[in-house]
């Protein structure tokens, strides 16, 4: 065997090649694609013939060396030379032979010319015992081919460990290069490296993505330990932009890029949307209530649509989701938000509300690392409302009743008043609830395969009884290299959610458990002495139907909500030529929901018959997508990358509902609906599809002048036949001013980039079949014979078909400036934008006489949004003690430019706040107005004794007065005007991070300013239950500042509850998240990679003048679309504070 060849015998030209190959190797390792290297002429020509049935590897290698000019270099400790092999080859190329020889082993081979270097798959899998013997290791490493050097004399071996400033464990994958040469290595899994350098004057350059490059003069040291600093200006240098990535410096559009550090990672954070709240300028996150697992609303840069959804498109690992994202937050590696049209136009007709790109964690090469991340904690209600006790409540109610009625009978008689209960219903119905989450993960890989696996169990008790939310999820991301040019990968996520739901559906008021809880009389008992549910009846109800105990409503009915969701995609890419890569991806996203309900008779909506229902729905989403990207070789100073692609995505929906009323027993719950005396079934199926072609070109000149152009053509099935296809172009330019010579020398400015972008995007989020002339079974049945009835099949006469129906189109101009000052101690971006939305979809009234239809959904409206955004970050103190801060501010101005004629769009409450109050309108959208405008009466106090209020001639003392806004002397519906707005003037977030040694403290504030809410809960509880009810005017309390008679129910004929008293300023500043963590020094424990404990508090403090539970809620409450109805604080789940303690371990 020639493996004992002296290195000196290696011809110099081979060395050069080795060095060149090394360079490529480093590059490829960095890119994560390392395998067989390019071969050259000798290896192409030489042919080997072997027929060995049972011999050692060493024998075979010797035979090859004998037959040819090839010779092998390898480390005998890594390569098992005694392995028995079997090989039959006739006149085959060396590569084929090697492939067979090492198939199924961890051995990798590199062929350059006549030299073949054998390594193990893991370039860092160097036996530990060699560490202490530097020279021995050196020679072995030389043989392994992993360490090669330019000069072969005067070797000096440098070893060391690279860590990051933030974390004490080693940084793997850091490039260590001998300055001025191509000689180098990369650090192993533990951040260790070893390199031969020629002399003491050698300079080592340490670099890694996301860290500031450092140079170290070797001097007389043999060990160099170094900490790299994170490069805050480019925490993530690569930004995901849809169908690819770009370097941050090359960005030309408005993209917010968040990695883990920038997101909120609290216990109550169960969705991606929550992680973004307050974290990114221009991204507003709100929610209907604080229900565990509840859905959030995300609005990017204001509302562009009245009838369609304004929620952004979510794309997870390149896969456009059908609706929302179910995800384990700890699976998320980074989130990129495409805000302006130049960035989101690549998603065409789905881009106008912005795009949220979520990248999940990928495997890392190296040993399998196992991690555990878990926390447990408690949630406590944030009650800001004061309730009356039984004595105050009953006295007040009796007085109010006596003033309004002359029947001489008090509401509560002496016997009622003697009932001694004083129940705090909110306390009885809520609890300090536990929350816990456990994630076990594993990542690892070798040169060909990487994987990342996680298993999460998240269990949240609701603070409201019986409202738990449990989710178990599994994610696996895996990819593998096949051959020289192909990669195949797969992402799969599957989650099962089991929740118990309190009932708070719009619809009948009695369906709301919170309503029952908050309106219940304190004189009643929650529980009897024997522990059973209380049913105290007051005199007025003697003999009547049993009172429904709100605790019973929470705990007795079965309300099981189950969701099973899986999304998976498999992809392959192939390098056709240098710079030309084709990729194809196929995936699906399936969600199955089952909601099962059983309400025993007294807890059912009607209160007379038991109700049982099972409601199943399935969402299916399939996609096939192909892209080709090409990066041609260009002359110096020019770079160009072009991308072209096509995709075909299909969405299906099916539902099946069965329900029944009147069961012979409650004991079978919803499991035997067939036993119901009245049974109903329903089913539905729909489908839509979007086919797209898209392209993008990125061009830069001298790294200073950047140009991006995109174009997407979308064809969507739900569009009208005449407008199936739409085209969405965008263009953007950027000028990296800081790269110009005149700024090169500046100490102040080290990064300055001006961006200008214009683009066109669309909104296609209306439901399937809207455009079609459909016929369906008629709702009304007709009887021909008087004994049976049948439905016909015909048009419904409501929605007219519209073959011209098309997407709403938004044209957006964005100007942005990125900057980094004082060595990037201060950095950030300013953005200004204006969006004009045209062809906005509005339901236009039709002449039913002329057309046979009453409404057509047509593209007629216009809307505009403009705003500014500011993002700032700074390294305020740097040293042992570190203080970094980041903040954002955004302001958006909305205007409805044009609607159907002058017809306002009126939004009415979907249900009465209290039975008998009526469903008042609270919003009228008009041309020239804003989307969130509240429309109602202006409250003007209480009519006093002896006072005559002109506009309300019939009003008696104690009734509410309203402003005669139009001054016509009469108070009527024309006196309603804009009395508030649900959209904020501005929103902001501010995070401060303090670090000292192993301690890190994060303090995150978030706020919203200038938004109003319709406090419907106030309407509901301020009548009788809350402390405010005691301030109502009665004959015993003539100084009361709140009206006594009428007012709440509108019975006195003037005004209504949608008035300025219940439109409240909901601006707030919230200490959203505080966390303190400590990272242990685990260097001494070989099996432990890292260990960290933390304590965290969420929603710790809120500063607001809003009187409800939570100023953050914004219930979307209308039949038109979610966004046009927002701004109502209905009977939502109360807000809570969460305290957790957590542990992170890495092995």
């Amino acid at each position: 065997m020639k493996k004992k060849h002296n290195e000196e015998k290696i011809a110099p030209h081979i060395i050069t090649k080795i060095v060149r190959v090394m360079r490529i190797t480093i590059l490829l390792i960095t890119l994560g694609i390392m395998n067989v290297m390019a071969s050259n002429s000798y290896s192409q020509k030489a042919k080997i013939s072997l027929n060995i049935t049972d011999a050692s590897l060493e024998t075979v290698l010797d035979e090859i060396e004998n037959q040819s000019e090839f010779y092998f270099l390898f480390n005998q400790k890594l390569i098992d030379a005694n392995r028995k092999v079997r090989l039959n080859a006739k006149n085959q190329k060396i590569e084929k032979v090697l492939e067979k020889l090492f198939d199924g082993t961890n051995v990798n081979y590199v062929v350059f010319d006549r030299q073949i270097v054998l390594t193990t798959s893991d370039p860092t899998a160097v036996p530990r015992e060699l560490d202490s013997n530097a020279s021995g290791r050196n020679s072995v490493l030389k043989k392994s081919g992993l360490q090669l050097q330019g000069k072969l004399n005067d070797d000096k071996v440098i070893t060391g460990t690279v860590t990051s400033v933030e974390e004490t464990d080693g940084l793997p994958g850091v490039n260590v290069l001998l300055k001025g040469t191509s000689i180098g290595t990369i650090t192993d899994i533990n951040g260790r490296f070893s390199l031969n350098v020629p002399d003491e004057n050698s300079i080592l350059v340490f670099s890694s993505v996301g860290f500031i490059k450092q140079e170290i003069i070797v001097g007389n040291r043999a060990t160099i330990d170094i900490s790299l600093k994170a490069d805050i200006t480019a925490l993530k240098e690569v930004v995901v932009v849809g169908y690819g990535t770009v370097e941050k410096k090359d960005l030309t559009g408005a993209v917010v890029s968040l990695d883990k550090e920038d997101m909120t990672m609290g216990a109550s954070v169960s969705s991606a949307a929550q992680m973004l709240q307050g974290r990114a300028a221009g991204v507003e996150v709100s929610r209907g209530d604080s229900k565990p697992g509840g859905e959030l609303s995300v609005v990017i840069r204001g509302y562009n649509s009245i009838s369609n959804s304004n929620e952004p498109l979510y794309v997870v690992d390149g896969f456009p989701m059908s609706a929302g994202v179910s995800i384990n937050p700890s699976d998320i590696e980074s989130i990129d938000i495409l805000k302006d049209a130049s960035a989101s136009a690549i998603y065409g007709s789905r881009g106008s509300s912005g795009v949220v790109l979520i990248t999940t964690k990928k495997g890392k090469r190296g040993e399998v690392r196992v991690s555990y991340d878990g926390y447990a904690g408690v949630q406590k209600i944030n009650n800001t409302v004061e309730f009356l006790n039984w004595n105050d409540y009953s006295t007040n109610r009796n007085q109010l009743y006596a003033d309004d009625n002359n029947d001489g009978n008090p509401w509560y008689n002496a016997a009622d008043l003697a009932i001694g209960n004083d129940t705090d219903w909110l306390k009885e119905g809520t609890r300090n609830a536990g929350i816990q989450s456990h994630t076990v993960g594993a990542t690892g890989g070798d040169e060909t395969t990487r994987f990342s696996l996680s298993l999460n169990s998240f269990r949240q008790e609701g603070i409201l009884l019986n409202t738990d939310f449990n989710r178990t999820s599994i994610r696996l991301n895996v990819d593998r290299k096949f051959g020289k040019n192909a990669n195949v990968g797969m992402n799969i996520y599957t989650a099962k959610i089991d929740a118990l739901g309190a009932s708070n559906r719009p619809g009948f008021r009695s369906n709301s458990d919170m309503y029952r809880l908050l309106r219940a009389e304190p004189g009643r008992a929650a529980y009897n002495d024997d522990g059973t549910l209380g049913t105290t009846a007051f005199s007025r109800e003697q003999g009547g139907p049993p009172w429904v105990n709100p605790i019973g409503r929470l705990t007795v009915p079965d309300r099981d909500q189950n969701q099973f969701r899986t999304y998976a995609n498999i992809w392959a890419d192939y390098k056709i030529l240098d710079g030309l890569i084709a990729k194809i991806s196929v995936g699906f996203d399936n969600t199955a929901n089952t909601n099962s309900t059983f309400e025993p008779a007294i807890y059912s909506a009607g209160g007379s018959e038991a109700y049982g229902a099972i409601s199943e729905s399935k969402n299916e989403n399939y996609i096939v997508e192909g892209t080709v990207s090409y990066t041609p070789e260009m002359s110096e100073g020019h770079t160009l990358n072009v991308l072209a692609g096509a995709s075909d995505q299909k969405f299906g929906y099916r539902s099946f509902d069965a329900s029944g009323n009147g069961f012979p027993t409650d004991k079978t719950s919803y499991n035997n609906l067939a036993s119901a005396s009245v049974q109903n079934i329903a089913s539905w199926r729909s489908e839509n599809r979007i086919i797209s072609f898209f392209g993008r070109a990125n061009y830069s000149f001298q790294d200073k002048y950047l140009l991006t152009a995109t174009l997407r053509a979308d064809g969507a099935s739900q569009m009208g036949a005449n407008n199936k296809w739409g085209t969405f172009p965008s263009a953007s330019v950027a000028w990296r001013i800081s790269e110009e010579d005149f700024l090169n020398a500046s100490n102040l400015i080290d990064n300055l980039k001006l961006r200008v972008a214009y683009g066109v995007t669309g909104n296609n989020s209306f439901s399937a079949y809207t455009a079609l002339a459909r016929v369906s079974p008629t709702e009304k049945q007709y009887s021909f014979d008087g004994s049976s009835s049948v439905s016909g099949l015909g048009p419904d006469g409501r929605f007219a078909p519209n073959p011209d129906l098309k997407w709403e189109t938004s044209n957006m101009l964005n100007i942005g400036l990125d900057f980094g000052l004082w060595g990037s101690r201060l950095f950030g971006a300013v953005e200004a934008y204006k969006t004009q939305t045209v062809d906005m979809i509005i339901d236009k009234s039709l002449s039913s006489a002329s057309t046979g239809y009453s409404v057509i959904r047509a593209n007629i409206g216009e809307m505009s949004n403009s705003g500014i955004e500011l993002s700032l970050g700074g390294n305020i103190i740097d040293g042992d003690f570190k203080w970094t801060a980041s903040g954002n501010f955004s302001k958006n101005q909305n205007e409805i430019v044009k609607l159907d004629r002058d017809a306002p769009i009126v939004i009415k409450l979907a249900r009465e706040p209290v039975s008998g109050y009526g469903q008042e309108a609270y919003r009228e959208m008009v041309s020239g107005g804003q989307m969130g405008d509240f429309f109602g009466y202006t409250y003007a106090g209480v009519v006093q004794v002896g006072e005559t209020y002109g506009p309300q001639p019939l009003s008696k003392p104690g009734e509410a007065k309203y402003m005669d806004v139009n001054g016509d002397g009469v108070l009527d519906a024309d006196d309603r005007s804009v009395i508030g707005n649900a959209t904020p003037d501005f929103t902001w977030g501010l995070n401060n991070r303090f670090a000292y040694k192993g301690f890190t403290l994060n303090v995150f504030f978030q706020g919203v300013q200038g938004n109003d809410l319709l406090n419907l809960r106030g309407v509901m509880i301020d009548e009788l239950r809350s402390a405010k009810a005691a301030d109502r005017y009665t004959s015993a309390n003539t100084s009361g500042t709140r009206p006594g008679i009428g007012y709440f129910d509108g019975r006195n004929g003037y005004g209504g509850y949608v008035n300025s008293e219940f439109i409240e300023d909901a601006s707030y500043v919230r200490l959203k998240n505080v966390s303190l963590s400590y990272r242990f020094d685990t260097n001494a424990v070989s099996w432990l990679g890292n260990a960290e404990v933390y304590v965290q508090a969420e929603n710790l403090m809120t500063f607001t003048n809003y009187s409800g539970f939570d100023p953050e809620v914004s219930f979307n409450y209308s039949g038109v679309s979610q966004s046009s109805g927002r701004g109502v604080d209905d009977n939502g789940f109360p807000n809570y504070k969460t305290y957790t303690i957590g542990l992170r371990l890495g092995f």
């Binding site: 075909d648 079949y769 008629t778 021909f784 008087g786």
Partner: protein, 503 residues
């Protein structure tokens, strides 16, 4: 290299296959069908025509032929009364504007029938089914379109004539054009429609088409043709009067051959009901209706005690007793054939007070109480009864100066009610007698307002009725302009061919 070529070709083919994808963007419907391909078989045609019939019931609860048509037809009359809010109902006292619920519902509902009839006619044209079967369905659609236009033109006068042949907004046409179209549709329909024996009461028949043509001609004062059309119905020999003027309204008699055309209710409630019982029964009735649509006490008192049709009302008495299962709700039973409420309670302390109106028991379907749901009474909503046909003939003959002939026909109706026949009246007296007979025979069946308008006495009698009910009230707002309803504001707003003047 070969692999690369294959790969490139595959990708290329994939892209090309996606380009030819316009047909892939066609929507697949599952739970509904497309108008363009939903109808192929005779069963589909049946389903199609059923949709036109079911649109008679409006598109929402209680609309058009479920109830709202009755409200606007019966309240602004001499006997109509609304009990809901002390007579403030705009229809009763003529204060309606151009945005009122019931008129809007009738407008939208009738035009929905027009639209679905137009739709059915256009689809039937293109269907590949037996010609005779097709002709039958076409005739039914034309009958239903004519019925809707009848309701439109005699409530709103000049209305939009939409025959489904144009798109875009249409201006109104004069009433004469609408009437001409109604007569044209009915004339074309009659020969292709089967008779009572085949189609019964709930489905268009030759008799229904001729009867509606008679009624249309009557209102158009085409007395000769009205008389001839009524006679044509009589000559079919398919119809006669049921012996009892009370029991004809019982659910058990809803398919009797006195009914020429009626909207059936199968008595099962939900989706298959009409709302008659809800609105014509007093709210104090056991599980009873809302009772906003009743007749005045005065009208009740005009009935001869021998007139069996008096039993189609309940003389108003209310006792103070309480229902044992629902405290606070007064309980009454109605004994069929006995107009008085009979108090269930035998408690002597219960006070009995007189009501100033009479709830209608025509629509209780012969039940003496509703144990569950008045919607399940299963009674017909009358569109055309044979008694109506006879009265049409009587009126038309009188107007053509054949008083004897008129009285002969009229007396058939009086005889059934237990009254003696009239004789020797001159034209003027007979005209008054026929108008009164129509009221007593057809009250609360949706004819009164149109009858009064035709007679020219609408405003005077309506006002007189109000002054009787509300002594001292000022009803000067009621003048000839209240003979018809205004076109609803929503139509004016949405239709570029209309201006506020069309009100």
């Amino acid at each position: 290299m070969k692999n690369k070529i294959i790969l490139i070709c595959t990708l290329g083919l994939l892209l090309i296959s996606m380009i030819s994808c316009d047909d892939k963007l066609e929507e697949n419907v599952y739970s509904e069908l497309l108008a363009s391909n939903g109808y192929t078989t005779v069963e589909d045609a049946e389903s199609l025509i059923t949709s036109v019939y079911s649109s008679l019931k409006g598109n929402d609860w209680g609309t058009y032929y479920e109830m709202s048509l009755l409200q606007i037809s019966e309240l602004p009359t001499d006997y109509g009364q609304d009990t809901w809010s002390g007579g403030s109902d705009p229809y009763e006292i003529g204060t309606w504007g151009n945005n009122e619920q019931y008129t809007n519902e009738v407008w939208v509902g009738a035009y929905a029938v027009v639209a679905s009839a137009n739709f059915a006619l256009s689809v039937l044209e293109g269907m590949n089914i037996d010609d005779q079967i097709r002709a039958g369905y076409i005739a039914e659609a034309k009958f239903l379109r004519a019925l809707a236009y009848y309701d439109l033109t005699f409530n709103f006068k000049d209305v939009i004539l939409n025959l489904g042949e144009t798109t875009g907004d249409l201006a109104v046409s004069p009433q004469a054009d609408i009437i001409a179209q109604i007569i044209k549709d009915l004339t074309e329909a009659a020969p292709d429609l089967p008779g009572y024996a085949t189609n019964g009461v709930g489905r268009a028949t030759k008799g229904a088409a001729l009867g509606l043509r008679a009624k249309t001609n009557l209102n158009a004062k085409n007395w000769d043709t009205a008389a001839a059309d009524a006679k044509a119905v009589m000559d079919l020999g398919e119809y006669d009067l049921f012996p009892s003027a009370t029991e004809i309204f019982y659910a058990s008699n809803k398919t009797d051959n006195e009914w020429v055309f009626a909207i059936h209710s199968d008595g099962s409630g939900a989706g298959a009901e009409t709302q008659l019982s809800w609105f014509t029964l007093d709210g104090t009735y056991q599980n009873g209706g809302w009772g906003n649509l009743v007749v005045t006490d005065e009208f009740y008192k005009t009935f001869d005690t021998d007139d069996t049709r008096r039993n189609n009302m309940a003389n108003g008495y209310q006792d103070g007793g309480q229902n044992e299962t629902s405290p606070g709700v007064f309980e009454y039973h109605v004994i069929p054939g006995t107009p008085e409420y009979t108090a269930l309670s035998t408690d002597a302390s219960v006070s009995i007070s007189d009501l100033d109106y009479a709830p209608i028991t025509k629509h209780t379907g012969g039940q003496n109480r509703f144990d569950s749901d008045p919607a399940k009474s299963g009674v017909n909503y009358a569109v055309l009864r044979y008694a109506d046909i006879l009265l049409i003939r009587a009126e038309a003959l009188n107007e053509t100066n054949d008083q004897d002939g008129a009285m002969t026909v009229l007396n058939i109706v009086r005889d059934r009610a237990g009254l003696t026949g009239l004789s020797g009246l001159n034209q003027v007296d007979l005209r008054a007698a026929i108008l009164e007979e129509r009221a007593k025979e057809l009250f609360m069946e949706g004819h009164r307002r149109v009858d009064l308008v035709r007679s020219g006495k609408h405003i005077a009698l309506w006002k007189a009725g109000l002054e009787g009910k509300y002594p001292g009230g000022n009803f000067s707002n009621i003048d000839e302009s209240k003979s018809y309803y205004p076109i609803p504001q929503s139509e004016i707003d949405a239709n570029s061919q209309l201006t506020p003047d069309n009100n």
